[in-house]
Symmetry: C3
Subunit: 134 residues, 3 copies
């Protein structure tokens, strides 16, 4: 993988966790990545990347529902666009995750998947993948 | 350090912050790591890695107690295993931390330690260490 | 960039988000960094680094105000220094962010800026920058 690669996404809901594990695996294989680390980074300020269980869809549902109740719109917010809750969730969850890569495969736990987190959808979104050998 | 290394851990409580700073330092020294970065990653979806004060054990206690009260079990959760709070805490704190390494030593602040965060213990757990020179 | 570089900061408020994007860009250029990743790391346990919108100052204001109300001082805290809220915010937001770097420039989204987050100011603070080519 030279430079960095981009995953294009289309979210369909206000809050949505989109499993991108298969696309990350495929890009690592296509890039013949060897061993190193992989930075999975989203360039949006009302979105995030997280690693959590992708076997039971109830898990990302519960996380999204929790965040929505944790950070509702508030009278004291000054940002005029009305999406301060999404900016807050973005900083709480974080813009990126970094993975161990071995022989072109991400070393994930049995239950771990990689999610793009939409907090202000629906929108067209991107995730950057940057592999560093080592 | 070739490939990646594994720290084996045994948590003894439901919520527990285990200081792994000494083990991380030791593995870096044994691996004759030079300079670069170190990814400290946990492959579990009900755990996390954080960096915080390890001088006063009251600090990790207060963080754990806060998280437990922030994310209790809720009627609206759909995940049947009853550990959605632990999955939520995992995404809030994050599966990994990355450190600056100089001459085989992690560059930590005076008060910083590296913690494995158990949110659904007691369990047998693992942390992966991946050093990237640079 | 050999070894790692340090940004010196002086916060002036208890809770403050300081935009360090321009200084990060400048250090990457001066270091003739090429392509790779950049670790932006703060060595303090009552501070953090986040990526969020830096166009409207209301956004970091709203995030800081939210965190302050989310984690106020509590009777059950054991840490005697009275700054457990700041330690909690540090673990929620995280000690670092990692960026994609292409030809010496961080690949940020249109609205993304890099913030040092002060949670227990005013204080003299530092942020470490570590570039890894790849």
């Amino acid at each position: 993988m030279s430079s960095y690669q981009t995953i294009e996404l289309k979210s369909t809901q206000k809050i949505e966790f989109i499993d991108i594990t298969a696309r990350v695996r495929e890009m690592l294989r296509t890039g013949k990545s060897g061993s190193g680390i992989l930075l999975v980074y989203t360039p949006h300020t009302t979105a995030a990347v997280t690693i959590n269980e992708n076997a039971d869809p109830a898990v990302p549902h519960d996380i999204g529902e929790f965040l929505q109740r944790l950070a509702p719109q508030q009278d004291y917010f000054r940002h005029g666009e009305g999406n301060s809750p999404a900016h807050i969730m973005s900083s709480l969850v974080g813009a990126s995750e970094t993975l161990v890569v071995n022989n072109g495969e991400p070393i994930l736990g049995s239950w771990q998947g990689i999610f793009f987190c939409e907090f202000d959808g629906p929108r067209q979104r991107r995730v950057f993948l940057k592999f560093i050998p080592g």
